[in-house]
C-alpha cells in the first residue's frame, strides 16, 4: 500500500511537535518518543513537502495502470424538471467545451426522460457534439436506481472520460450512486476544473470546510466524475447547432425499482437570490437581529436582494435560502455589497464571480477585502447611519 513513512530516528520532540501542528488532519500521534500516523491521514503529503527534511517519506505502491487513451468524451448529465433543463447543465456544457478544446475530445450530453426530444434540440444550440437520449415512458420521473442503470449502460458503450453533474440536490444524490456503480472517483462541488494533456481532470475545491483549497485528481480510474454547483461557471452563448441527436435503445435497461414516487410537490417559485442582480449581504458584524434594519434604506434604494453568511442562518436570523456560500447558494450578481462579513473561503467561493464586489468591514485585514473591487474600512454602526443620511439627501434633491 502507499503510505507516509516516518523515520523515527530523526524525530525529536521538537520535530514531532512541528509535524503535529503541520498536519491538517490531526493524523500524527507522539507517544513515548515514537511518532506514528493514524488512519486520519489523507496522504496529502504536506508533511513530506513542507515538514522537516527527510523525516516523512512517501512510500508508493504502483497500481496497475489503465490505458487513458481508450476513454474519450466529456459527458454532461442534463438535469430537467417540468420539461425544462436546469441551467447548471448548460453551464457545465460551457466548461466541458473549454476542457475538450485542450484534449481535443468531443462534448456529449446525456438526456434521460420521456418525450424529451425538444430538450435535446434545445441543448444542441449550446454547442455540444452529440446529445444521447434514453427516451422511454418508464423514465419519465427521475429514479435513482433506474437512472444509475442507464448511466452504467451508457458508460459501458461509450467509455467516456469524464461525466459532469450539476451540484443540485438531485445531482448530489445521483452522482455518488453512479460513482460507486462504476467504482470510480467523484469530487463534489468543484469550484474550478482544469484538464491535463493525458485527460486527467484536475478538480479544485475548498477542503476541510476551511480556508484551504485542494487539487484533486483521479489518476487511474475512468470515468472521472465531478459535481459543480449552479452558477459556478458562466452560461454559454447559443450558437448554430452543429451536433446531432442519437436515441439509444432502452429495452435492455433494468427498470425494477424499490422506490415508488407517490407525490412530487413543486414549491411555489419564489424569487431566488441566485437570480438577483444586486445583493446586499450581511454577516457576523451585526451584533443583534434588530441591527439588520440598518441596511434597509440601502436595500430599498438599490432594489437589492438580501443575502447572508452561514452563521446568521445558524442563529436563526435568516432562512437557509438566503445563505450565500458553498453550503448555501452560489450567486453571480452584477453587484454585491458585503457588510460585516470577514470572508470565510466557503463564503468567498459562493460570490466571487460577482461583477462588482464592494465590501465594508472594520478589520482592514479581513479576507473579504482580498477579492473586493472596493474595500471600505470602518465600523458598520457608524457608516450605515451616515449612508442612510446621504441617501435621504440625494432623494430630496
Amino acid at each position: 500500500m502507499s503510505y507516509i513513512k516516518v523515520n523515527n530516528d530523526k524525530v525529536t520532540p521538537e520535530i514531532a511537535e512541528k509535524l503535529i501542528k503541520l498536519c491538517p488532519f490531526n493524523a500524527f500521534e507522539y507517544h513515548n518518543g515514537y511518532l506514528s500516523i493514524n488512519s486520519l491521514c489523507k496522504v496529502c503529503k504536506i508533511c513530506v513537502n513542507k515538514g522537516p527534511k527527510d523525516v516523512c517519506e512517501f512510500v508508493e505502491e504502483k497500481k496497475e495502470t489503465i490505458d487513458k487513451s481508450a476513454y474519450r468524451g466529456i459527458l454532461v448529465y442534463l438535469e430537467h424538471h417540468q420539461n425544462e433543463i436546469h441551467p447548471v447543465s448548460f453551464e457545465l456544457i460551457n466548461k466541458a467545451k473549454e476542457l475538450a478544446a485542450i484534449t481535443k475530445e468531443p462534448v456529449y450530453a446525456l438526456l434521460i426522460g420521456s418525450e424529451v426530444k425538444s430538450l435535446a434540440e434545445e441543448t444542441l444550440a449550446y454547442g455540444v457534439d452529440e446529445v444521447f437520449v434514453y427516451d422511454d415512458v418508464d423514465f419519465k420521473e427521475f429514479n435513482v436506481e433506474i437512472y444509475t442503470n442507464i448511466s452504467e449502460d451508457f458508460f459501458k458503450n461509450f467509455k467516456n472520460n469524464i461525466i459532469l453533474f450539476g451540484g443540485t440536490p438531485l445531482g448530489r444524490s445521483f452522482a455518488p450512486r453512479v460513482a460507486a456503480r462504476l467504482k470510480t472517483g467523484l469530487t463534489a462541488d468543484c469550484t474550478k476544473l482544469e484538464i491535463k494533456n493525458n485527460g486527467d481532470l484536475v478538480q479544485i475545491r475548498p477542503a476541510f470546510g476551511g480556508n484551504i483549497m485542494a487539487r484533486i485528481i483521479t489518476p487511474n480510474n475512468r470515468p472521472q466524475l465531478a459535481t459543480v454547483r449552479y452558477q459556478t461557471f458562466a452560461l454559454p452563448e447559443k450558437e448554430k447547432p452543429r451536433g446531432k441527436i442519437t436515441f439509444l435503445k432502452t429495452d435492455t435497461i433494468k427498470r425494477e425499482t424499490n422506490i415508488e414516487l407517490l407525490k412530487k410537490i413543486i414549491s411555489p417559485k419564489v424569487e431566488e437570490i441566485t437570480a438577483a442582480e444586486v445583493i446586499v449581504a450581511v454577516g457576523r458584524g451585526f451584533k443583534t437581529e434588530k441591527d439588520l434594519e440598518l441596511i434597509n434604506p440601502l436595500v430599498k434604494e438599490l432594489n437589492a436582494f438580501v443575502g447572508c453568511t452561514r452563521p446568521l442562518v445558524e442563529k436563526g436570523w435568516f432562512d437557509v435560502k438566503k445563505q450565500i456560500g458553498m453550503s448555501g447558494r452560489t450567486v453571480r450578481p452584477k453587484l454585491i455589497i458585503n457588510i460585516g462579513i470577514s470572508g470565510a473561503v466557503q463564503y468567498l467561493e459562493g460570490m466571487k464571480e460577482a461583477d462588482l464586489i464592494i465590501s465594508l468591514n472594520d478589520d482592514p485585514n479581513s479576507k473579504i477585502f482580498e477579492i473586493s473591487d472596493y474595500s471600505f474600512v470602518g465600523d458598520l454602526y457608524t457608516l450605515l447611519p451616515e449612508l442612510t443620511k446621504k441617501i435621504k439627501e440625494i432623494r430630496q434633491v
Partner: protein, 263 residues
C-alpha cells in the same frame, strides 16, 4: 427492526488558516466533536426505533481510536450497540474507499432494515458517502429526508426536500436514508443512559475482521481520487481600499454607486 446509524467525528472548528510565508496550515487546536448533522440522523434512528417493535439501534463509525468518543455519545443518547472500524490501512481513503469500508462493516453486522446517515459532514461537505454505501450494498437510498411519514414492516413512507420541490416516496426495506438538518429535535445524552451504558464495550474492528481483506480495496490504494496538492486560496487582484472619516468613506461609496448608475 434493526437500524444502523453511521456517524462521524469531525474537527470542532473549521478555522484553518494559512501561514502566508511558509504556506503551512495553522489550526486552532485539535478539538473534535460529533458531526452536527449526525445529531439529526441519530434522532431519526431513535424515532424509527420507537415506531416499531423489538427495534435496535446500532451506531457505527470509521476513524481513529479517538472516534470512540462519538460512539459513546451515541450510546448515551440512546443507541443500543456501537462498533468502530479503525485501521491504519484505511489512511487516505476517499469517498469511494470510505463507503466501501463502511459497507463491508455493515455486511458483518448481520441483517438490518434501515441505515440512517446524516445529510453530510461538516469536514468533507460532500454528502456522497450515504448514497455510495447504498450502492455497494445494492439497496435503495432516499436522501434529504425531512419527515418519516409511516413505518411499516417492509417499507417506509418518507418526505424529502430538494430545494425547489419535495417528494413523497415509499421505499422498500432494507434501505438507506439520509436525514436533512433541523427536521427533528435531537435529544441530549442522558445521565441515566450513561449509567446504563458505562460498562458497554464498543467493538473495534479492523481490516482483518472484514470479509474482503484485500488492502488494495481500502485506504489510499482503494481510492480513485487523490489529493495532488493543497494550497491557500488564490488572491485575485484586490482592488482599492478606502478608509478615513465616515463622511469621506460614505461619500466615496455613494460616488462609486452613482458612477455605475445604481443610485
Amino acid at each position: 427492526m434493526k437500524i444502523i446509524t453511521c456517524i462521524k467525528q469531525v474537527p470542532a472548528s473549521s478555522n484553518v488558516g494559512v501561514d502566508k510565508e511558509t504556506g503551512v496550515l495553522i489550526r486552532d487546536g485539535n478539538n473534535v466533536k460529533m458531526n452536527p448533522y449526525d445529531l439529526f440522523n441519530l434522532e431519526a434512528a431513535f424515532t424509527l426505533k420507537e415506531s416499531s417493535q423489538e427495534a435496535l439501534v446500532h451506531a457505527i463509525s470509521m476513524g481513529p481510536p479517538q472516534a470512540l468518543e462519538v460512539l459513546k455519545e451515541a450510546l448515551y443518547m440512546g443507541a443500543d450497540e456501537a462498533t468502530l472500524i479503525s485501521d491504519i490501512k484505511f489512511a487516505g481513503a476517499d469517498v469511494l474507499a470510505t463507503s466501501y469500508t463502511l459497507s463491508e462493516l455493515i455486511k458483518q453486522l448481520g441483517k438490518y432494515d434501515v441505515i440512517v446517515c446524516g445529510k453530510q459532514t461538516t469536514d468533507g461537505d460532500t454528502a456522497q458517502v450515504g448514497p455510495e454505501i447504498a450502492e455497494f450494498l445494492k439497496i435503495p437510498h432516499v436522501p434529504y429526508v425531512k419527515e418519516i411519514i409511516k413505518v411499516e414492516k417492509d417499507k417506509l413512507t418518507l418526505r424529502s426536500g430538494y430545494d425547489d420541490y419535495e417528494e413523497i416516496v415509499a421505499v422498500k426495506l432494507p434501505c438507506l436514508i439520509t436525514i436533512e438538518k433541523e427536521t427533528n429535535t435531537p435529544r441530549l445524552p442522558s445521565f441515566r443512559r450513561r449509567l446504563l451504558k458505562e460498562d458497554y464495550q464498543i467493538a473495534i474492528k479492523s481490516l482483518q475482521d472484514l470479509n474482503d481483506k484485500n488492502p488494495k480495496n481500502y485506504g489510499l490504494l482503494g481510492s480513485p481520487t487523490q489529493v495532488e496538492e493543497i494550497f491557500p486560496p488564490e488572491k485575485s487582484s484586490a482592488g482599492e481600499i478606502i478608509k478615513g472619516k465616515k463622511e469621506e468613506v460614505v461619500e466615496s461609496l455613494i460616488n462609486i454607486l452613482k458612477e455605475r448608475r445604481y443610485l
